[in-house]
Amino acid sequence: MKQFGFSAMTPRVIDYDGDDNRILNYVLRKEPSFTICMSCGCCTASCSASNLISFNVRKLGVLLRRGISDELEKEINKCMLCGKCNLVCPRGINTRNVILSIKKALTKIDENEL
């Protein structure tokens, strides 16, 4: 039979009710300052990685809040942990620790600890 390449598409909609909050809850425990992020984008603007490749630190926070774990896992490894975002955050969020905590949470999920 001729294959036309049709397939079912997975929806791009963020379905908040189907979301997995394990990573978010872990990060909020380890770095509570994350709650006060106002999505200004200073972190992304100062980010060495963002200037060279498709990577967005601010968006990591959004992915985290919405529980989009698969994308978060892909994106998080682009961070070089230089900590420049930490220096520029106007609300003093420890962004570096947010990223480290996400990484830890992902490992814990892999090891069935979360």
């Binding site: 791009r12 909609v13 963020i14 379905d15 908040y16 009710d17 709650t35 006060i36 992020c37 106002m38 999505s39 601010r58 968006k59 959004v62 992915l63 809040r65 919405r66 989009i68 609300r91």
Partner: protein, 340 residues
């Protein structure tokens, strides 16, 4: 001072201007269309940014009206204002008063959210407005769904009837943002297990203490702010609501199930402001608010001599701004009467 002033509208602006003028010895008559003075503020439970009870403001102003012997005529709608020589004639009910100056303090009314049909106010059970929520809190009612179920997730929708040219209001009502944040905090304090989301376009925390309140909502109450305007709401069979918006910070559409939706309805000129402005032929702005004679130097004067503006009849204002504007109106009127 042997001069008289008529104040139209017994909301906080009218009350403040009337009291200030009467304290200076001017004979003041205040017309109020409702049974009681206090206007929109009297329907509110608590106020930003201090969460002070609104009754404190009303009681304070009522006492000043009484102490300064302002003549208050309630249940009377002002039907006509006309100029006769240097005097102005005000007709309200059976009363006909000839006065030296008139202060228009006819204020605002809250946008009728039924006009945003896609949000389902008046159609779905669990869609309420910010003023409905205040009324529930004022009556000390338990905050539940209409059928009495506990509330686990609430969405506050910003800019309902503001920044919306389709409903004829292109302007920002400016106080709804912080009202939403205040209500989120009060609601969380009442029902701590509730998850709260605010859907906003821009958060305009312009006043002293507002930004701090926003931060407190995030930090202490875990209120989440989603940048994106609600596109539509639908009711599920169990009475919960399904809402859709773009999560513009991630660039993807988002859907969510909620138990209660609160519409932060904006400010529109009141029917009185609209009809008086039109009948007298005052210059208008932003729909039918009254345009001040000059944005910087004459905020309390308008296109008619002897007629002055106090409070939200000229545009959206917070309570603090309204009271300051009302005091400034009193000072301008006093100056006018002295030179007359």
């Amino acid at each position: 001072m042997n001069k008289s002033v008529v104040v139209i509208g017994g909301g906080i602006a009218g009350m403040e201007t009337a009291a200030c003028l009467a304290e200076k010895g001017v004979k003041v008559t205040l017309f109020e269309k409702n049974e009681k003075v206090g206007g929109n503020v009297a329907n509110w439970h608590s106020l930003f940014p201090t969460i002070r009870q609104s009754t404190e403001i009303i009681q304070h102003l009522e006492k000043r009206l009484k102490d300064s012997s302002v003549t208050v005529i309630t249940n009377t709608l002002v039907s006509n204002i006309s100029k006769e020589g240097s005097m102005i004639t005000v007709k309200g009910g059976d009363a006909r008063l000839s006065t030296d100056a008139v202060v228009l303090a006819s204020g605002f009314q809250i946008f009728d959210s039924k006009r945003k049909e896609e949000f389902g106010y008046g159609i779905y059970d669990n869609v309420i407005t910010s003023s409905d929520l205040e009324a529930m809190m004022k009556k000390d009612q338990p905050i539940t769904t209409k059928s009495g179920k506990p509330i686990n997730r609430v969405a506050f929708i910003h800019c309902v009837g503001s920044r919306d040219e389709k409903v004829g209001n292109h302007y920002c009502s400016k106080i709804c943002c912080v009202t939403g944040v205040k209500q989120a905090i009060v609601l969380r304090s009442k029902i701590p297990q509730t998850e709260i989301f605010c859907f906003y376009i821009d958060l305009r925390m312009y006043g002293a203490g507002f930004e701090e309140l926003y931060r407190e909502a995030q930090e202490k109450h875990g209120v989440q702010f989603v940048r994106g305007r609600l596109s539509e709401a639908a009711e599920n069979i169990d009475g919960t609501l399904q809402i859709k918006a773009e999560d513009t910070l991630s660039g993807r559409p988002l859907k969510m199930k909620i138990d209660l939706m609160v519409l932060l309805a904006g400010m529109e000129p009141s029917d009185g402001t609209k009809s008086l402005g039109k009948n007298i032929g005052l210059t208008q702005r932003m729909g039918a608010f009254i345009k001040p004679a000059d944005e910087h130097f004459s905020q309390n004067k308008c296109s008619m001599e002897g007629m002055f503006l106090s409070g939200t009849c000229s545009g959206p204002m917070s309570i603090n701004e309204t009271l300051s504007d009302a005091r400034s109106a009193a000072q301008i009127v006093e100056q006018y009467l002295m030179n007359k």
